[in-house]
């Protein structure tokens, strides 16, 4: 891969001074690939975590206990109305201090590192939106459908798995996609606690090679490309999942 594009970018540098060093030097290229990998891992991990938070939260919102409902409502309010960046710092510096660490031969290593905290805080941030999205989706399934499932002998859980959830999921898919795109853009905030993702890696590369504008162009291409691919795929999926004769 690198061998194929290296001559072009080396020539570009010699001719114009545009220094895309990541495309002709093995070391910087590996760094970039690693950064991209961490970003994608971060996106997938925090996405999964936020979906779990959303599903559990939506389920807990219907709990009988008023305390549970209050806790969920308070959680949503706090995470929606405070800066996500401060949330990440809070998780990392405050909760990171309180969690146990183990001895790794002379120095202490925390059980949950900065990547873990980034996933947790981003997951909770996006999860606060997912809870409401899932709840509105579940509420949109009419009672008569549930009763029909009941009459056909479905248990509560089975009717949730086979009837309520598939319908609810289709209803809330567009809103979930919006949230997912936002989450993708928010992962850059992990820079603040030194998670070696794309933004952080780019910063290291331009600090070493003084090619700020080139790396910036690359960053824009990377993120806009990622968002476009995601939006395209999701729209396609939305069309496939559409309930026939509806909407």
């Amino acid at each position: 891969m690198l061998d194929a594009i290296a001559p072009f970018f080396e020539k570009l540098y010699d001719d114009t001074g545009w220094n895309f060093i990541v495309f002709y030097e093995q070391y910087e290229y590996d760094r970039l690939i690693e950064g991209i990998g961490v970003t994608i891992q971060l996106i997938i991990a925090s996405l999964v975590f936020s979906l779990v938070v959303g599903i559990v939260g939506a389920w807990a919102q219907g709990a009988k206990s008023a305390i549970v409902r209050y806790v969920i409502a308070g959680y949503i309010q706090v995470f929606r109305n405070t800066p996500p960046f401060v949330q990440i710092l809070f998780f990392y510096f405050v909760l990171g201090n309180l969690t146990p660490s183990y001895d790794a031969g002379g120095y202490q290593v925390a059980w949950i590192g900065n990547f873990g905290w980034a996933v947790i805080s981003l997951g909770f941030f996006a999860g606060a939106f997912n809870v409401e999205i899932f709840r509105s989706g579940i509420e949109a399934v009419p009672n008569t459908t549930r009763e029909a499932a009941d009459a056909l002998g479905y248990t509560r859980l089975k009717s949730y798995i086979h009837i309520v959830f598939p319908l609810a999921f289709r209803v809330c898919l567009p809103a979930l996609n919006n949230n997912l795109v936002n989450l993708l853009k928010t992962t850059t905030l992990a820079y603040g606690i030194a998670v070696p993702e794309m933004m952080y890696t780019a910063n290291q590369i331009w600090s070493d090679n003084v090619n700020v504008s080139e790396m910036m162009i690359l960053l824009f291409f990377f993120y806009i490309g990622l968002v476009s691919v995601l939006v395209y795929g999701m729209h396609k999926w939305e069309r496939q999942m559409k309930i026939p004769g509806y909407g």
Partner: protein, 289 residues
């Protein structure tokens, strides 16, 4: 197909609006806010009571540094005050530029329409932090006009950096509002011999303002919550000052939770009423169909 309630249709419509405006519809109640702040006070009190004798307690430390975090050293107007100044100025610039860009998006000239669409999509889909870094690192630190040299401090660059994504999103809000009006409005204006400019200024835009105000306020909230980002570049706002205050107190582990919670609470106290207010306005302006 009357299987799904009209509610499902509502959810779908809400998602469509959300996608267009790029913001979330907030749904909140004041009693939650009271709970959150009450919890903060209780935690502060416990931490204070648990402090060993001879050390300055977390609450005392917080009171000592509160002024510093909120408005910085005497006469400097930094800290949280700078967060507010940055957010207000960025909103001002973003709104003016975004309104212009949004109107360009409904222009009849194809190149103008496509160009402004491209600009909008570009700034809308890049992460805020990347835009902020670009402006912070590539913008000159002073502007030489030949006869006078204007210094550009870091916080002013941050204003520009924040106004770009706001501009793009406001542009979408404007375009969405103009296009959401029924085409009958345009047609009847045409039949009354209004020119296009007159139609836009006298018929379309006055009706759009009502639809644009709630998402506009919502965007201000999002912007206000994004301003702590510029602490990464060392702008002297609340997060930077909190870290400095903690440093000055020797980074004691029992102070860290209280100081960072305080940071969350001041942002919460500021944005929450505004978000509430936008919901009220939205209800009042809701078009009855």
């Amino acid at each position: 197909m009357p299987v799904l309630l009209p509610m499902a249709e509502q959810v779908r419509q809400a998602a469509l609006i959300e996608r267009r405006e790029g913001t979330y519809r907030l749904n909140m109640q004041p009693r939650h806010a009271i709970w959150v702040i009450g919890l903060f006070v209780i935690v502060c009190g416990t931490a204070q009571a648990a402090t060993p004798a001879g050390l300055i307690g977390p609450v005392d430390a917080l009171f000592k540094w509160m002024g510093f975090i909120l408005w910085g050293p005497e006469g400097a107007l930094t800290g949280f005050a700078l967060n507010l100044i940055i957010s207000l100025l960025a909103m001002l610039i973003g709104t003016v530029a975004g309104a212009a860009l949004g109107l360009m998006q409904v222009s009849l000239l194809l190149p103008v329409r496509q160009g402004s669409w491209l600009v909008t999509q570009f700034f809308r889909n890049s992460p805020w932090l990347v835009l902020l870094f670009t402006i912070m690192l590539l913008f000159p630190f002073e502007i030489d006009l030949g006869f006078v040299v204007i210094p550009v401090p870091d916080w002013m660059k941050a204003v520009v950096g924040f106004s770009l994504p706001v501009m793009a999103n406001i542009s979408e809000v404007v375009r969405g509002a103009v296009q959401s009006l029924p085409s009958g409005q345009w047609e009847s204006a045409e039949s009354l011999a209004f020119t296009r400019r007159q139609t836009l200024w006298m018929i379309i835009l006055p009706q759009c303002i009502k639809r644009m105000i709630p998402p506009w306020i919502n965007w201000y909230c999002i912007l206000a919550m994004a301003t702590p980002l510029c602490s990464i570049m060392g702008v002297e706002e609340s997060v930077t000052y909190t870290a400095q205050a903690l440093n000055a107190e020797g980074d004691r582990p029992e102070l860290i939770p209280i100081f960072y919670s305080f940071l969350l609470v001041i942002h919460f106290v500021y944005t929450y009423p505004i978000a509430r207010w936008s919901i009220r306005i939205e209800k009042r302006f809701a078009v009855k169909t």
